[in-house]
């Protein structure tokens, strides 16, 4: 089921506002809505679900205009961040709820409900826990029950609001992989909201990045990572350092040092150069295009070592990934060469 959202606007929402948002979720796709808090990603998801009514714009499910279809009839499966399980019902009762509340004519028989619950329990790997109450389950298990409950009604689209937000890092990683597997298994059109760029990049077929109620970029994880459309996308997806440079005749200058980077499309004038930590290399000898600086701090992370380097003489700080074999220590003078970078015209709202 393809979902199209056209020129959606919503003001004065309890959650964040939306401003003229248009996006298409392709049939069978797993799409992530990514953005900082207050960017409107959850509002967008709730509008698609029918839990919020937009002020303007349309929501189309396939060719059907679903904008004013009430949530009960919209055929969406919604998974909430805090599970929203019915705590007075067992796992089985929770999962079968959507089937049991149907009108008699549409309601499957008791045997069929039973079979479906059992196969869903198997799908979410909770066999044998059907008689438990939600209070007797771990967070990860509860979220899987919530997913099974949403899938039980055979929704046209599956919507997940920060599904792993309340879980610890390890469980989160497991569930992430497992959700990907379930999606491949069911082929369900799925939209999920997250503020975690790793989660979005790892899980989604395509990512829509929102900021202040607007869509900044929609693309594959590769596209948004490698060719970010705006400085915001660049800095939100992964770590970046912004270096104020100047474009002159198609090349970039940092103060009086010419950088060996071509920027043919960049008009002359102040420019922001965005660098990933691995876009900068250490140089052995001073030559044209090298910058000098001093190491301020070195931090250890799970992935490697990161140095904060203060450039001489400006004092501008950039973050650099240290080579594995590097013996560099704090307060060492260092020579740097910028290998890559992404130039955007200098903006007023620096850093974003």
């Amino acid at each position: 089921m393809e979902i199209r959202v056209e020129h959606l606007s919503k003001d004065f929402a309890e959650t964040a506002a939306l401003r003229d948002v248009s996006v298409t979720v392709r049939s069978g796709e797993l799409m992530a809505l990514l953005g900082p808090s207050g960017s409107g990603k959850t509002t967008l998801l709730r509008v698609i679900a029918g839990l919020e009514v937009p002020d303007e714009g349309r929501v189309l499910f396939g060719d059907e205009d679903a904008t004013h279809v009430p949530v009960q009839n919209r055929g969406v499966g919604f998974v909430f961040q805090h599970y929203a399980l019915f705590r007075h019902m067992t796992v089985t009762q929770n999962i079968s709820y959507g089937l049991r509340v149907r009108r008699r004519a549409d309601r499957p028989g008791a045997d069929e409900i039973d079979t479906r619950v059992r196969s869903l329990l198997a799908l979410v790997q909770l066999e044998g826990l059907g008689a438990r109450f939600p209070a007797q389950l771990s967070g990860g298990q509860r979220q899987r029950v919530a997913l099974a409950r949403a899938l039980a009604v055979e929704p046209r689209v599956l919507l997940l609001d920060e599904p792993f937000g309340a879980l610890d890092a390890k469980v989160r990683k497991d569930l992430r992989r497992w959700l990907r597997e379930i999606h491949e298994h069911t082929g369900q059109t799925t939209v999920f909201v997250t503020h975690d760029q790793d989660e979005a990049l790892e899980l989604a077929d395509r990512v829509a990045i929102l900021k202040d109620g607007r869509i900044e970029q929609v693309g594959t994880p590769e596209q948004v990572h490698e060719t970010p459309a705006t400085p915001f996308v660049m800095s939100f997806i992964g770590d970046t350092t912004r270096l104020p440079v100047r474009a002159r005749g198609g090349s970039l200058w940092y103060e009086e040092t010419p950088l060996s980077l071509a920027a043919p499309d960049q008009g002359d004038g102040p420019t922001d150069l965005y660098l990933r930590p691995w876009d900068v290399a250490f140089a052995d000898t001073a030559e044209a295009g090298t910058l000098s600086g001093t190491i301020l701090t070195i931090r250890r992370s799970a992935a490697g070592r990161r140095a904060s380097i203060s450039l001489i003489p400006s004092g501008q700080i950039i973050e650099v990934e240290l080579p594995i074999a590097s013996l560099a220590a704090v307060r060492d003078p260092i020579l740097l060469r910028i290998l890559r970078g992404k130039a955007f015209p200098a903006s007023e709202q620096r850093g974003a």
Partner: protein
């Protein structure tokens, strides 16, 4: 066999370290306090009644006037508590879920029947519902007589019980996660299905608690009832009044006899309500 050390540990598990210092002191204090305030007076009551002997007690209880007073007291209390449980839920729901001008004022007003001296409430109700009162007069034209009838007692008992019914469910309603209702809606449930299957069942224990408290309060109510009831034997005489009458007749044994029976019925009722609660809580899996 379980090693002795472990067994000792299980035996003393109730002495878990806590922020309140001095377990022996605190525990002794608790026992003494409960004994002095609750248990000894109740025991005295039973001892007093035992001077009647079983047949004497039987005679007191099977007295026609006593029976009718007990029926009126417990029957009307039950009815009033039932009505309060329902409307208390509605009032609590409105106070929690809606924002309207004067909400805080209304919120405070709920506690008034609780805070008011019961005699004051009794006088107010009697004046209001008397045959020439503001409400009593139009009602009497409709052929409804409130003062000096069981209906008057019922109204007084509803009045004093309302705060209990409202205040016990209110925090639970405030705790209900809106997402639960939204989840129910996304699964295709209508609003009434959501209400009956998702919203109300978790509230049941609190509603029952409110019912029990309103009931207990109503059974013991005296001040607010006597003025409006008229205290006509066999018609509008409640058991607590009959106890007072017996005392005034210096019939102490008769008075304690009625009191013991009231105690027994109240105790049995609360026990049943507690059992229902334990059962329903176990059903919700968080016992």
């Amino acid at each position: 066999m379980v090693p002795t050390r472990e067994r000792r540990q299980t035996r003393f598990r109730f002495r878990r370290p806590s922020a309140i210092p001095g377990f022996p002191l605190a525990f002794g204090y608790t026992l003494t306090y409960l004994g002095l305030i609750v248990l000894i007076p109740l025991a005295t009551l039973v001892m007093r009644a035992s001077t009647l002997g079983f047949s004497g007690l039987w005679n007191v209880v099977t007295d026609e006037r006593v029976l009718s007073a007990l029926r009126i007291s417990f029957g009307l209390s039950f009815g009033a508590a039932f009505l309060n449980a329902f409307f208390g839920l509605v009032v609590a729901w409105v106070l929690v879920r809606y924002d309207f001008p004067g909400r805080k004022l209304l919120h405070a007003a709920v506690d008034l029947p609780f805070a008011l001296p019961t005699a004051v409430a009794g006088i107010a109700l009697a004046a209001l519902y008397a045959p020439n009162g503001w409400l009593g007069e139009p009602l009497s034209h409709l052929g409804i007589k409130v003062a000096y009838t069981p209906l008057g007692i019922f109204i007084a008992l509803v009045f004093v019980g309302l705060p209990f019914a409202v205040r016990t469910v209110e925090p639970l309603i405030a705790e209900i996660d809106r997402e639960i209702e939204e989840a129910s809606a996304t699964l295709g449930a209508t609003r009434s299905q959501t209400l009956w299957r998702v919203v109300l069942p978790p509230l049941a224990p609190a509603i029952l608690t409110g019912f029990a408290l309103a009931f207990a309060r109503a059974v013991g109510e005296y001040g607010s009832v006597i003025f409006i009831a008229g205290n006509i034997p066999y018609i509008s005489e409640i058991a607590p009044i009959l106890i007072v009458i017996r005392l005034e007749e210096f019939n102490y044994a008769g008075a304690t006899g009625i009191a013991v029976v009231m105690l027994a019925i109240s105790f049995a009722t609360l026990l049943v309500i507690n059992l229902i609660q334990t059962w329903s809580r176990r059903r919700f899996g968080d016992a």
